[in-house]
Amino acid sequence: MTTGRDADANDNGTMIIDCDVHPHINGPHDVFRYLSEAWQKRFDNKEFKMTARAMDRYPHPDGNSLRPDTVPPNGGLPASDPEFIRTHFLQPYGIDVALLLPIQGAAVNAWTDPEAASIFTAALNDYFIDEWASKFDEYYLAVTVNPHDPPAAAEEIRRHGDTKGVGAVWLPLINALAGSRYYHPVYDAAEECGLPVVFHPTGAEMSYLGVPCVAGGVPRTYAERHALFPQIGQSTLASLVFEGVFQRFPKLKVGLVEWGFAWMTPLMWRMDKEWRNFRYDTPWLTEPPSHYVREHVRLTTQPIDEPQPTSADLWKLMDMISLDEMLMFSSDYPHYDIDDPKIVLGRMPAEKREKVARSNALEFLGDKIAAAVA
């Protein structure tokens, strides 16, 4: 990526952890070596599609949701060349850990064939471990698991529980809220393996039956849809808390990635108020909801809100609930709305910057990664 500036990330000496980088394969053939002949035949189909956003429903207004200057020199898809990202993005900005979220795998939440979804996500996981995470120190994979078959998802997590270069689990959601007992096998396996679970949009939202959608109807435009993504983050968070997921899985850590974070302040107030009113409605919550959120949940920065004329109001909102203890930097590379690490972190008050750039994510990702980058 061209940064358009003389990028030297280490102005203040802090190396950055980026919790949202989307690696791509250039087509299903890239993962054929992990598939049986029969599954190769199933996926070797010109109508095979790995992008969940329905282009006839939400075309990007400028025609490309991937930033043009992220195209690697070999001409493949943006973020299909791990070395190019290192030299053109990670190293110039001083990012030494990038959590990989393969969106082509998570897009199986739009699929209807649960077996195909398990097979494809497992193949992608193997590919990104072999070609990215095991070859480059910076890359840690969030293994994508199949939401249509939680026991199979749990098996996939355990298969990679000790795999070097695995840093998290990406559970794409279907039309069951995240706290539903339906997903318990996934949380059980993630907790057992010491891997945090991340939730992130897959592109399917508002485009398919059976995936998370926003309340009330179908947004008209790309911008309207994008503005409403926080709704799904809020539903995910409230469900996890009120269902008692963190009582059942006391060591579980959850990351809400790309759902925004400014909404967290009023939602914490409101959840706590409802608990004070109706503690007896969810008597397993012995502490206010905000307690469990602080203990178990982290959020990411991108796409950061930009109140005008300055970001000062955003920092005030954060301060009201000490959100700087729960926030982790994310870029969303290679999407059009990459947040520039230097700009976003540079705007942030100094006392928040290090926590958001690094230490919160190090704690979230766990000892394995902390030891590796120490």
């Binding site: 061209t2 940064t3 358009g4 500036r5 207004p61 043009p68 200057d69 004329p309 059009y336 709305d337």
Partner: protein, 123 residues
Amino acid sequence: MATRQRQKERQLVGDVTDFDLNVFKIVDVRGTSVGVVRTATGFYALRNHCPHQGAPLCLGKVTGTMLPGRPDEYEYGLDNEVVRCLAHGYEFYLESGRSVFDVVGSRARTYEVEIEGDKVWIT
């Protein structure tokens, strides 16, 4: 003295024929990346740096845009008078560097372009 100073600071960036219509050419002006473009109405130069988050503005499209209007009405205008950033899509006028329809308060830095014969100079 002023004239001498000006002559010292201006920089040759190419021949007129080097510039394809509505396509930015990126040049180095005293260490700063600058985009120079020829359109039907003239030559324009902007710093290759979006005032929003610093993305390379002049790798974006030279384009027009949708004009403000009534609900459900789309009217295209300002054809080739606008650069749209390749990142978040912020739009600036090529001529002034101002935000199109004042969507944001910040503006892209512009440079004066002079044509002498077939030579293109930036000041």
